[in-house]
Symmetry: C2
Subunit: 303 residues, 2 copies
């Protein structure tokens, strides 16, 4: 049997999937060895692929990397200690007769949802991954938009707030990420709960709890969600005004708030977007943490 390996390199773990005909057959999860500038990572991945291989024939490898990538060339991946590296060449020299696709991890996840997840059948999509930060990927006419320096889709750094802005780790202020990420939601909760009677007054508050409390009727939690969705809808309107995708996918941990979140963003978007892009649809991601390996596999499969 012929198979393709879909790989996602994260800051703490690496996932390797074995796919045949687009179907995920088995996976292996490794710890990301960031020692020595991440120089063991690729060998660890090659070993995992060889183990998954068994009697089957490897015909393609797709790898999602946590950093900017253009044309198969990684421009750097700080979290795992990598500088610029021609990763396509590295993989090809180990597996000379195999199709190799290297892409950014958020782009891989977007590609995954497009080809095998919630956005199946669409051709132009933007995915927002709402997690610790806010990342994203763009596919237009079935083509990944990598950008001139591999940074297209960095939608977390759209400025959505001018006054009383929060400073962002990127050095800017008022970035969408500061309001629509899990971290941002908890920050807003800390601001709004002050001296008020609310279930938010607890230690180690999580973003999930804020959404749960809001749905259970806690008024201050609802205010937090309203503020978060205001900014998220505003960011989505900006994206749609510029590139006019068919659909915006909400993914990442925060998107587990599900239809409650999706419906609010979709409805607020209508009031903020340019009239010509009002048909933009909003959907929830469905592949969860597997989106990256599906997308990496898909990129290799399409070569």
């Amino acid at each position: 049997m012929e198979f393709i390996a879909g790989v996602n390199i994260g800051g703490t773990e690496i996932k390797v999937g074995k796919f045949s005909d687009g179907k995920l057959l088995s996976t292996k999860v490794l710890k990301t060895d960031i020692s020595n500038y991440g120089s063991n990572i690729m060998n660890d991945i090659f070993m995992a692929i060889d183990e998954l291989s068994e009697q089957d024939t490897l015909i393609g490898i797709g790898i999602g990397v946590p950093g900017p990538v253009t044309n198969g060339f990684v421009l750097g991946a700080q979290n795992i200690g990598w500088e610029k590296v021609d990763l396509t060449k590295k993989v090809t020299s180990r597996y000379p007769h195999v199709k190799v696709a290297i892409l950014n991890d958020a782009n891989a996840a977007t590609f995954g949802e497009l080809a095998y997840g919630s956005a199946k059948g669409y051709h132009s999509v933007v995915m927002l991954t709402l997690g610790t930060g806010v990342g994203g990927g763009i596919v237009m006419n079935d083509q990944l938009l990598e950008g001139a320096s591999g940074s297209a889709g960095e939608v977390g750094h759209i400025r959505v707030k001018e006054d009383n802005p929060r400073h962002c780790t990127c050095g800017l202020f008022g970035c969408l990420e500061q309001y629509a990420s899990a971290t941002g939601v908890v920050k807003t909760a800390y601001e709004l709960r002050k001296e008020k009677d609310t279930r938010l007054n607890k230690h180690n508050l999580t973003c999930k709890e804020v959404f749960d409390f809001a749905q259970a009727g806690d008024e201050i939690s609802q205010m937090v969600v309203e503020q978060m969705t205001d900014y998220l809808a505003s960011g989505c309107a900006t994206i749609a005004n510029i590139i006019n995708p068919e659909v915006i996918i909400l993914g990442g941990g925060v998107s587990k708030a599900g239809e409650y979140l999706r419906a609010k963003v979709a409805s607020k978007f209508q009031k903020l977007c340019f009239y010509a892009v009002k048909d933009t649809k909003f959907i929830l991601a469905t592949l969860g943490n597997d989106a990256g390996i599906y997308g990496a596999m898909h990129a290799a499969r399409m070569l």
Copy 2:
């Protein structure tokens, strides 16, 4: 000799260019006949092409239309009275053996600057046309980004201002167009000149005068230009953060302010953009009103 016709349909006039091997040989300018829902426009264009033709052989027609276009299909063009129309079919039935490209006018202008103007040699560009309004076009990896409903590149409706915003003709408020268009600059001048000693205190003030006065040292005019370039740079940062082009082209009448404008926007952009897109270049458009016919021709030539 073989030639391609590049056409730009505007609200008041239509320009038809005769091109051979990418060179503009001659042009014809017609009045746009918007009577009867613009139903004479295409015949007027066909006649102009036939006249320009002489003994030469028409091998392609490219047409820029003032409205959203996807895959050669015009979704509507209010200014000239058009509803949805399959313009490719209309042109092909008149000239059956000719390559036909139909595209949005701002996209055509962007394509023109990319292939024959200031952005020659680049592959991923965004053009902003700063005129009565603010329009734009996007080309990524040499491909036009039309968007799901033909509205990609409508950068004039990015919200750049939250508080004390100006209402926009589109129904939204705080749109870039309200601050960075010629109209917007004059509006700002009227606001800032109140009861102050400035050369701006004259009737029928134009955007060009504001820029001229500013360069000649008029303090209030300089404040107007600073405000305009603040918002323009902010809009450009938002665009670059999302799609990461190699270069942003400033075009349209306002861009005649030249290097004075370009340098300000480029420098302010550096303080507002995400660090990964700091290499984005800023250049001035060079084809002026001919950008549209060049781009329409180029689109047909590439088929």
